[in-house]
């Protein structure tokens, strides 16, 4: 916890935040220059009034016309500069934000799955959509403001100190004092901003769940509960927001009023000097006019830290996401050798004392598993639920990294292989098919994006889903709703099988549907899976006796460890766990058989 706090201390965050601004330094300066030009032009504009008055007083018509012309030129160029600044500013904010967001997404694709899953989707989205925008825009604005303000202060200081050093020093102190006094507030505002950001993402999460769980909400009439849950969270959010708001209101009010404080100072002290005949009234008036331009920037400069707190708090959320541990991706150097019979023995899978536990728990889910499977063979993993079977598949996928031990494929340590390369060899057909919002075609095509339309259709045919697709209103181009909501469970399953066909993997990982979804689907899915398995190295979390019996190797797992392994015949002779399970299932399937006949 302490380490965490240190890692995201405001000073470290600000340094990283500055790094986000670095690539745009030239643009910052350009925009700051535009701001300065605007200021210069508005001063010139005010001065032309003076020209006009003196022109009128001295009764010169040409001077009047000249001044009017100058004014027009100034007005036109002000508009031009303003437009240019608006364009540059918008481009800067849009481009820099997009770049940061792209970077975050790329990073996310490398983060370890279990770390990523700890954050709620709505939280991750808020970090990318909101936090990134606010952090980047914050640093952009602050740095531009800083450059422009600093330039103004330097320029004005020279001029004002020539008028009166004492007044200058005084008004600097007056306008710098209050922001400096406010510095301690930053500790609270940052803490409250942190809470506010978290709550904001959490309330989005409730909405997301209320919508995605819409069916449960309706069938159990949880509307009231969901509404209350949301209302409570929003109220909590608003309570924290009111705290940050009170700080914002207070500082906002000070920002509006403090410049007048320095006016009072100048008038009061200047008036005193005049009455003591130490200064001319005209000089005080001139000083007053110019000091208006000084106090604002000084106030801003000294208030930068407080104004940055909101961005710092959001930037912290960006960096937290960016700092999640990455999957060890391997060097990518180790390419699988084209095995030419030399080391056939090492061809295939080998697991060596693999242990896995979740990073936040101390219970081993997989406990020292060692096993081997030759290329082209089928292994069936069986065992009671919760014995770690599915975790084994995740280890093969490299979704999880073994806490210790190694996995080898064709003699190469998997951890050395590039994740992308490795996953290209694999396809996983899981029990809970995941479909994306989009068309049927896209969902299959994701299996292999180089595949042609014909190949997609061929894959669908192999998966026994082509006929179903053709019956859909727009065939392959039917949109299937979120998570494939418009399809039945069996149809979704077959689409993921078609996806796996299109991929044509070397290794097939299969989380066997324990009991397929309905009678027709069951046959169709089983047929599709059998086709898919042909000629591939298969690891199946198996439930069906027929699958199990004909596997080349049966691995019986219990409490995260392999307790028995071998062929059906070997394990039956052993008369242990497997034998027991087989007997029980057989009577069950037997009884079904009897039912039908």
């Amino acid at each position: 916890m302490h380490e965490e706090e240190h890692r995201y201390s405001p000073y470290r965050v600000i340094v990283r935040l500055l790094r986000l601004g670095k690539p745009y330094l030239v643009l910052y300066i350009l925009i700051a220059v535009a701001i300065l030009v605007e200021v210069g032009l508005s001063i010139a504009y005010a001065n032309t009034f003076q020209l006009i008055v003196s022109g009128v007083v001295s009764d010169e018509y040409p001077a009047l016309v000249r001044s009017i012309l100058i004014m027009s030129v100034i007005v036109v160029s002000m508009s031009a500069v303003f437009m240019a600044r608006g364009y540059l500013g918008a481009r800067l904010d849009n481009d820099s934000r997009l770049k940061l967001q792209d970077e975050m997404l790329r990073k996310v694709s490398r983060v370890r799955l279990d770390s990523l899953d700890k954050l709620h989707t709505s939280d991750k989205i808020a970090r990318i959509l909101e936090s990134a925008s606010i952090a980047q825009a914050g640093i952009n604005n602050r740095l531009i403001g800083f450059i422009a303000d600093a330039a103004k202060v330097v320029a004005l200081l020279v001029y004002l100190s020539s008028l009166s050093a004492r007044l200058t020093a005084g008004s600097i102190i007056v306008s710098a004092l209050i922001p400096l006094m406010l510095l301690p507030i930053s500790r609270y505002s940052r803490r409250w901003f942190d809470q506010q950001n978290r709550l904001s993402a959490e309330k989005d999460g409730i909405v997301q769940e209320a919508v995605q769980g819409g069916e449960v909400v309706r069938s159990y009439r949880l509307q009231k509960d969901m509404n209350e849950r949301f209302a409570n969270k929003v109220s909590e959010f608003v309570r924290v927001r009111l705290r940050t708001l009170s700080i914002e209101s207070f500082t906002g009010s000070l920002t509006a009023i403090v410049p007048f404080l320095s006016v009072v100072y100048i008038l009061g002290y200047g008036g005193l000097l005049v009455s003591r005949n130490e200064m001319e009234v005209g000089a005080v008036a001139a000083f007053l006019a110019a000091s208006n331009l000084l106090t604002g920037p000084i106030y801003n400069l000294f208030g930068t830290w407080n104004a940055l707190q909101w961005s710092i708090s959001q930037a912290k959320r960006v960096f937290e996401l960016m700092d999640l541990p990455e999957e060890p991706s391997g060097s990518g150097v180790a390419e699988e050798p084209k095995h030419d019979g030399v080391n056939l023995e090492s061809a295939g899978f080998r697991m060596e004392k693999v242990v896995f536990r979740y990073s936040d728990e101390d219970l081993d889910v997989v406990r020292g598993v060692s096993l081997s499977l030759e290329e082209g063979r089928i292994a069936a993993i069986v065992g009671p639920s919760g014995s770690g079977k599915s975790t084994m598949l995740k280890l093969f996928m490299k979704d999880y990294e073994p806490s210790s031990g190694r996995i080898w494929w064709n003699g190469i340590d998997c951890s050395l292989m590039d994740n992308k390369q490795w996953r290209k060899k694999l396809a996983l057909v899981s029990q809970t098919p995941f479909l994306f919002h989009g068309t049927v075609y896209d969902n299959i095509h994701y299996g292999n994006r180089e595949a042609s339309e014909l190949e997609v259709i061929e894959a669908a045919k192999m998966a026994n889903i082509h006929d179903v697709i053709m019956r859909l209103p727009d065939g392959y181009h039917t949109r299937i709703g979120e998570r494939g909501a418009t399809l039945s469970g069996g149809e979704r399953q077959r689409i993921t099988i078609a996806r796996a066909f299109l991929r044509n993997p070397d290794i097939l990982l299969l989380d066997e549907p324990t009991s397929a979804l309905d009678n027709e689907n069951q046959a169709a899915i089983q047929q599709a899976i059998n086709r898919l398995m042909k000629g591939k190295t298969c690891v199946i979390v198996a439930h069906r006796l027929s699958t199990i019996i004909h596997a080349d190797k049966i691995i019986f797992m219990k409490d995260g460890a392999v307790v028995e392994a071998g062929t059906h015949e070997e394990l039956m002779l052993l008369g242990g766990h497997y034998y027991e399970m087989y007997q029980m299932n057989r009577t069950n399937e037997q009884s079904e058989w009897e039912v039908a006949t």
């Binding site: 069916e215 509307q223 009023i257 404080l261 009234v281 007053l288 639920s385 979704d399 009991s515």
Partner: protein, 613 residues
């Protein structure tokens, strides 16, 4: 622009009326806070006072210094310090109230909106991506609520105009009129851009939802995306959508900037124009130089608020663009039943007494069809008639796409039939689907788990559940087997992905959730499809116990489950093909016999293929 200028006056007027209605719709949420609003608006005068005070300060100073009156200066300084202190407090209070009201509107509107979303029929809800709904609550509501800020800005500017006008007319009423007349011109110019800004803003908000959709798919499908190496595809999709949104953002920025510039341009043009003629008058000796200066000062003062008003109104347009997306949901038709609930009125009573004489559930002549987004209609159910009594177990079987799940959803009140009537315990369910739901427990194949503890997920919506009741439900569902092994038992937190629980475990939690509700009717739609054989047997036993005193509808494929049913309904192409016991159907229904053979046959097929492998 040319398009804009062609807008006829009446259309412009109509649009402004429409804007006003929408504006008041948003401000309606502020009604509850009218006192805060009133005080906040009163405090706007503090700002005006301060501005006048500052303007006056210089005059006082110059008068006193010229007279070398040091005492008066000291006095003035003291007075000013007091004024500053007071104004800081009052202005902070005003800013606070302004933000407060915005936040309260934001809160009330988003709670109201989610209430409406929760009250929509399921069909409507699923017609849009969840990210779109979330975006409306999370992004469009705050944007709409920001409209309330305009009220403060507008009243400040209107007051400023008023004061300046009074001041100016004390100099010269004609000049004051000229200055005032330029105001509406500036104002009208701003309105020419309104439609464009509003449309663009709505588009930008729409794209925001689009971007969220991509991100949500990306995060919820991470596992699949990784295994198929699709990350870059989704990154590109995000980039592209965001780029399009940026394009619109830039466009809007440039339109508003051009609008401001055009207004400033006109203001300055008028000033220069007036200066020229006023100065000519001075040269001719008709006016004095002092009058010119004072006039210029006030002219600027009166025009700046006008330009501010115009700017404020274009901000309002941005809010209106977002509020269009909020209002679209508010206007959607709710389920007839849900009104009472969103209005927070009494929890609807079930209104049903379990009646032994009547059928627990009876469907008469039910038809249903799905409409796709493109308007295609697919008839799913045709004139279904069916009834079930308490103490009865009915199984529904049929080929994929025969309409079983749709029928289950209609029975459980999730979908509303296009025609036909439903009777629960002898009473007709007319529209009030939630009454039907109160008497039914429905467990789909994959049930949604909320983030929170296992306990919360199961007891949600049921206050005052005892430990015993909970444990009993968990035991019936066979969930205690794995929960007991978890270090934190029922307090185990389920993360959003619930990645540590298997599909079968989640199914068992869903069954426990339904069992705990002790509804007289229970509908299980393939709700044990992912549990293993051993657990399936355990659950079959539980179901037999549950069937006591209940009406049980089961959609399942395992013959061992189905054959124990008192009655089996065979569905085909949205119609009931046959009804009867297992033995009866085996003989009488060819499709049923085929389904049974298929179930067993697939094992054969499997055997054969496996041998080839």
């Amino acid at each position: 622009m040319s398009q804009v200028s062609r807008v006829s006056k009446s259309r412009l007027q109509r649009r402004m009326n429409d804007d006003l209605t929408r504006f008041f719709q948003v401000m309606g949420y502020a009604k509850k806070y009218r006192w805060a609003l009133a005080i906040g608006l009163l405090l706007v005068s503090v700002e005006i006072f301060f501005e006048l005070y500052v303007a006056n300060a210089q005059k006082i100073f110059i008068d006193n210094t010229n007279e070398k009156n040091a005492d008066a200066i000291t006095q003035f300084v003291q007075q000013s310090l007091l004024v500053i202190a007071a104004v800081i407090v009052l202005l902070a209070a005003q800013l606070m109230l302004k933000g407060l009201i915005q936040q309260f509107i934001n809160r009330d509107m988003s709670v109201h909106l989610l209430g409406r979303i929760n009250a929509l029929p399921l069909k409507r809800l699923q017609s849009m991506h969840s990210a779109d709904w979330v975006s409306r609550v999370a992004r469009d509501v705050p944007e709409s609520a920001s409209i309330s800020l305009a009220l403060f800005d507008l009243s400040r500017d209107i007051l400023l105009i008023l004061f300046s006008f009074i001041y100016l007319s004390s100099y010269n009423i004609y000049l004051a009129a000229v200055a005032l007349l330029s105001g509406p011109l500036i104002f009208m110019i701003g309105r020419l851009f309104d439609g464009k800004i509003r449309t663009l803003s709505e588009g930008i908000q729409k794209r925001e939802a689009d971007v969220r959709e991509t991100l949500q798919e990306y995060f919820q499908g991470t596992a699949v995306i990784r295994s198929y190496g699709l990350s870059s595809l989704f990154e590109q999709e995000f980039h592209e959508k965001r780029r399009l949104q940026n394009k619109d953002l830039l466009k809007r920025e440039m339109i508003t900037t051009s609008m401001y510039q055009l207004m400033d341009f006109i203001i300055n043009g008028i000033i220069i124009f007036v200066i020229y003629f006023v100065c000519l008058a001075v040269l001719r000796g008709e006016l004095t130089v002092g009058t010119v200066l004072a006039f210029l000062y006030l002219l600027i003062r009166i025009q700046v608020p006008f330009s501010n008003i115009s700017r404020t109104l274009s901000h309002v347009q941005q809010g209106l663009g977002a509020s269009d997306r909020v209002q679209a949901v508010m206007c959607m038709e709710e389920e007839p039943s849900a009104k009472a609930m969103t209005d927070g009125l009494a929890k609807p009573s079930t209104g049903y007494e379990a009646n032994r004489e009547e059928a627990a559930l009876r469907l008469e002549d039910i038809s249903f069809c799905y409409r796709s987004g493109e308007g295609h209609e697919t008839a799913v159910l045709h004139h279904i008639r069916f009834a079930i009594r308490l103490n009865e177990t009915v199984a529904i079987v049929g080929m994929s796409g025969s309409g079983k799940s749709t029928l289950a959803k209609i029975c459980s009140g999730l979908l509303e039939p296009d025609s036909g009537s439903i009777y629960a315990h002898g009473k007709q369910v007319t529209g009030r689907l939630d009454n039907l739901r109160s008497t039914i427990g429905y467990v789909p194949q994959s049930s949604f788990m909320f983030s929170g503890s296992i306990r919360d997920n199961i007891t949600i919506g049921l206050p005052g559940i005892t430990e015993e009741q909970l444990n009993n439900a968990l035991t019936i569902a066979g969930a205690h087997f794995f929960i007991d092994k978890l270090p934190n038992g029922v307090e185990t937190q389920l993360s959003e992905a619930s990645s540590k629980l298997s599909g079968g475990e989640i199914q068992r939690l869903a069954i426990a959730r339904a069992v705990l509700r002790e509804t007289p009717i229970l509908i299980l739609d393939e709700s044990t499809s992912a549990v293993d054989n051993e657990m399936e047997r355990y659950l079959e036993n539980s179901l037999r116990l549950l069937a006591n005193d209940r009406a049980l509808i089961i959609i399942a494929h395992r013959m061992s489950t189905v054959r124990h049913a008192d009655r089996i309904i065979v569905m085909d192409q949205g119609k009931i093909l046959a009804t009867g016991t297992h033995e009866h159907l085996l003989r009488a229904c060819e499709l049923y016999a085929k389904l049974c053979r298929n179930d067993i046959g697939s094992q054969d097929d499997n055997l054969a293929v496996s041998q080839q492998v």
